[in-house]
Amino acid sequence: MQFYQALTVLFKRELLLAFRQFNEVLNSLLFFILVCSLFPLAMTPEATTLIAIGPGIIWVAALLATLLSLNRLFRVDYLDGSLEQLLLSPHPLSGLVLAKIIAHWLLTGLPLVIIAPVFALLLHLPNEVMKPLWLSLLLGTPLLSLIGAFGAALTVNLRNAGLLLALLIFPLYVPILIFGAGAVTGALAGLGYAGQLAWLAALLIGGITLLPIATAAALRMSIT
């Protein structure tokens, strides 16, 4: 019960802090909106081209927007010393880490999932692919947060971790990008998309079970 209380309090703290510094939450969402709306301007407003590249644009933008927000995840806590306090808590660190990751997804991933259909319309994606797009993002963005947290934990004590973090986690993001964008392009081509979604779901389940443990271990390693 106490552990559960610690988790909920940490979760609420993350949300409260985010709402008090709301511009930081808006950062990645704004980035996503900008990237998605610049492509039609830079390329061509023609529907056939945009349909072909649309799923890729949305997925790449979601991926980069998540990457942009990762620095905030543990770095701020590291700098003000509250990460030390988290590590010294008698409660299992992997659980506390999972609470932080869920809060991170709620603040960065979920807004993208919600807003993505609007940009799908902007990119002329037909209505039939809304469902696969939405489902693939719903399964894929939590994975982006989970993997990103692992990378952020590994680089938390480095001053200019941005580039290293990107190099570390991009290879791990590739399968998500392939399956995510593949589900949408598959649906566009009139093929099934259940396979890709099943892969994303399997990866997500594996990620939720294993990555918080790995992230907790990485945090301990980085701090000591």
Binding site: V9, L79, S89, P90, H91
Partner: protein, 234 residues
């Protein structure tokens, strides 16, 4: 050249001195005893200290002194389980602390040179969160806030507080914790005279109740009736 000294008011003959192996350390006092055995620590390529051993009993205060960069903070981090020593062990209740991290973490309250409070949270919210992270705690948040003279600031975001007030918020954590061992890195930093006196009072109370304190500070402690040991890192 780099070694550690522990002194009890006499000049140490060698670079290693066993401290506090007192005649009264009987078996029943093995419980709740912190035993540090031939600890050494490296920072970068530099050896900060080596062969550091001491025993701390309930009700005792250990003051760590030493020049800047002598390894005081590193030592405290090792004692808190936040860092690993190069060699040596730290034992609590005769058990190496890494073996049962959660049990040890429940027994200590660590305050580093960073306050560990969130700028975006109010004083009361910060303290409540700290208490929830502990496994066992005392339900006296408002009392702790009052004792540190923060009642009027309880609902103010800590980013609007002065450095000394922030330190007081961090220190208030000690009063809601039921930890036996307090590990404090420069607890008196940016505190005013009154608060320093208050803090010394709180230390005395903690030790009378059987608690123990390890702290790094250059302040001369004004605490009577409490066995005070010093450990000098050179």
């Amino acid at each position: 050249m780099i070694h550690s000294l522990i002194s009890n008011n006499f000049a140490p003959p060698r670079n290693l001195l066993q401290l506090a192996i007192k005649s009264n350390s009987t078996d029943d006092r093995v419980l709740n005893v912190l035993m540090v055995n031939s600890l050494s620590c490296e920072r970068g390529e530099r050896l900060l200290f080596q062969d550091l051993s001491f025993i701390l009993h309930p009700g005792e205060i250990l003051q760590i002194i030493g020049k800047n960069g002598a390894g005081k903070s590193s030592l405290l981090k090792i004692l808190a389980g936040l860092a690993r020593p190069l060699t040596g062990t730290v034992r609590w209740q005769n058990q190496v602390i890494e073996d049962d991290r959660a049990a040890y973490a429940a027994m200590i309250c660590y305050l580093g040179h960073l306050d560990g409070i969130k700028a975006g949270l109010s004083v009361a919210e910060n303290l409540h969160f700290s208490r929830c992270l502990m496994q066992q705690s005392l339900d006296n948040e408002s009392l702790a806030i009052q004792r540190f003279g923060l009642t009027h600031y309880a609902n103010i975001l800590t980013e609007d507080l002065s450095a000394g007030q922030k330190r007081r918020v961090a220190l208030a954590r000690l009063l809601v914790s039921s930890a036996k061992l307090w590990i404090l890195d420069e607890p008196f930093t940016s505190l005013d005279k009154q608060t320093i006196i208050l803090l010394e009072q709180i230390f005395t109370e903690h030790c009378i109740q059987g608690g123990m304190i390890i702290m790094a500070t250059h302040q001369t402690l004004n605490i009577s009736n409490i066995p005070l040991k010093t450990c000098e890192l050179v």
